[in-house]
Amino acid sequence: MKTDSLLIRIGLGFYLVLFFTYLLGPLVLMSITAFNSPSFPQATPWEVLTFEWFNVLYNDARIVNGIKNSFIIGFFTVILSVIMGLAGALVLTQIWPKIRATFYTIIIAPILIPGVVLGISTLVFWDRVNVMLGLPNDSFLHNGILLTVLGQSTFIASYCMLVFVARLQRYDLGLTEAALDLGATHTQAFRKIQLPFLAPAIGSASVLAFLASFENYNTTTFTFGKYPTLTIELAQKVRYGINPSISALAFIIVCLTVLFALVHEVRNRRVQLAIANGAPVGAVTSGFKLPKIFAGNPVAVVLALFVAVAVAVISYAQFYDPEPAKAIILQEKRAAQQLRIEELQRKLKDKRLQKNLKGPDIFNEGKSKIPKLEEKKQKTPFGSGIFSPNNLNKVAPGAETPAPAPKPASPFGSVFDPTNLNKVAPKE
């Protein structure tokens, strides 16, 4: 029995580790690459701690512009989607029950339609509208921001509506009736009673809408026009090869997400704690009473640690200069390169000596191709296919290195990559 439960525990622990590795591993790995100096995002081998990729990110005009556009589009999408979603939810909860199911299906359909289709149809539809109105080709209806907001809102409004419906199901219509009974108009009853009740849902719907807008690619790709969003820029960048500045961006986003989630969670816990102890909610939501919070609130502790680490990293970055370390590494790389070259030359000499003694050794050819290189210059007496110049050219550059240079996982890194050498050389 005891060994059984032990086995189960070990199994469970193993599963949990596996699960969280799968879930968080990529994020952690990517965050590490943001601080490693090689120009291709890689976590191993660890070379030097650097913050230059944040700098690169900051100086990348296209990324910054993309972020700006994403925020503008996100802002307007939130406004439009929340309003449409709220209206839809109010209708849904008050509509005649018999057509409620039909209405629900219609209004939820945009979520089920692929984003690509929504993107194309948005483009086509508003183009037609533009033509029908007789507007010029560069009218506001062809503005990328407007079209993207319209296109994204078609389905994001449905998400918002689901959030509102969930909240409205807990709303007691008696409250509206009570307000009416006390002399309020319908507008007053909505504004003073129902809207404040919906406030938390408006908050979460806004966050949801903003995130959905921020990360949207497949609808936006058809509608962005002259205003590429961050996702569009990233996708275009990937085509030309990426550098760790993208990891840096991802790291910033992860940090912000974690920070906001923690702040929200801490707030929630304080309110719940207050309610459980019968204290008025106002006592915890106003004013900051840290010491009490730390007692029995692990999330607060995590948050504090997180902030401390962030502060430490930032202050470290103020005086930390990775350049000397980089120079050392470069020197080491050079030295290693030099060694390899010398070794190569020595081997060549040996081969030549051997050749002079014994003549060419056919059986050795497969193991070392260097002699062949040399033999190329001589006239080969054998006329075999291995010596054809095409063949030689193919194998020659990688001949001595055990693994191809561009592979980041190679134990030699990209030391032998000629392009790499060119890049680092001027920095010396």
């Binding site: 006390l182 003073k192 009740f197 008025p280």
Partner: protein
Amino acid sequence: MSEGVGVDLENVWIRFGDFVAVREANVQINGGEFFSFLGPSGCGKTTILRAVSGFLEPSDGNVLIGGNNMAGFGPNERPTALIFQNLALFPLMKVWENIAFSMEVRGASAGERRKRADELLDMIALSGQGDKLPSELSGGQKQRVAIARALCAEPDVLLLDEPLSALDLKLRQHMRSELREIQKRVGITFIYITHDQGEALTMSDSVAVMKAGIIDQIADGKSIYDDPATAFVASFVGENNVFRGKVKSVSKDSAIIETNRTGNLRARISSDNQGKLKVGDDAMMFIRPEALDISTNDTSSDTRIKARVTHSEFEGQSYHVFLEGTEGKEMKMSLINRGEDRMYERGKELYLDFDANQAVALPAGELASE
């Protein structure tokens, strides 16, 4: 007392599709009266209240408040305030904001509102609690806040929809007298909806007893209890022993009923039915448990029943003796505890006497289900 604004229902019908919720209701409620609608759940009493407060329009007939026809006036245009069954206090507003909500929508300044709210808080004995949220109050306190909120609107008619049903027994009894107290102080018309006959009888000037959309009787509490108009009222309000049978003979105000199992019994005809009962009609006779007493005489009479004890219960202020008459006819007798031992053993034979004036003969009709 009669200075307040009265409410009249004139031939009011309320239908939902084919379902008739209220049938031909004719009610006159005098100004300043505490009026109750009493009936089992689903009898249409809340529907009547909603018609008075303006949440629904009657399908037929008129609702008059202070003599004015209210047709076409919404709930926010009527001089009524409703206290909801679940109170419907605004959960996100502080207590004082809740109370002064009716002033807020009229555009009163915060200072004015606060002042009036504090006055009302004093009245309901909750001074200093204005800055709490409703969720921080107890059930009885919420109750009083709901009343204060309704009174703050200065209505001519206050409508109460089973406001005490969520409270526990002790608090309910306390709130009964408090409500009555408040009503006397403010002097406005109260219309009270309840399924609890105790509430209706103790608080009301008049009670309307409803059954499935029909108002069976409108009278003061004593008449409802002692002089019921229908078999339903007799069986719904208080406890009653029912004897079914046929009318054997009728005089002006009393009748002899030939009961199915207990023989001929004499009873007074209820005042609403005098002249309506004919010889040979199906009839019902009701005797309250407390109207029965033990007889020392064993001769047969039309005000005497022979029965055998099945069991006895002691309830402090009274004993309840359960008996079985001929052919298993079940009866209950309540005897005031005056220090004698009334715990009769099973099987003991007793003769029960009653005063014919305390027994009521009524036309046969539907009884209230338990």
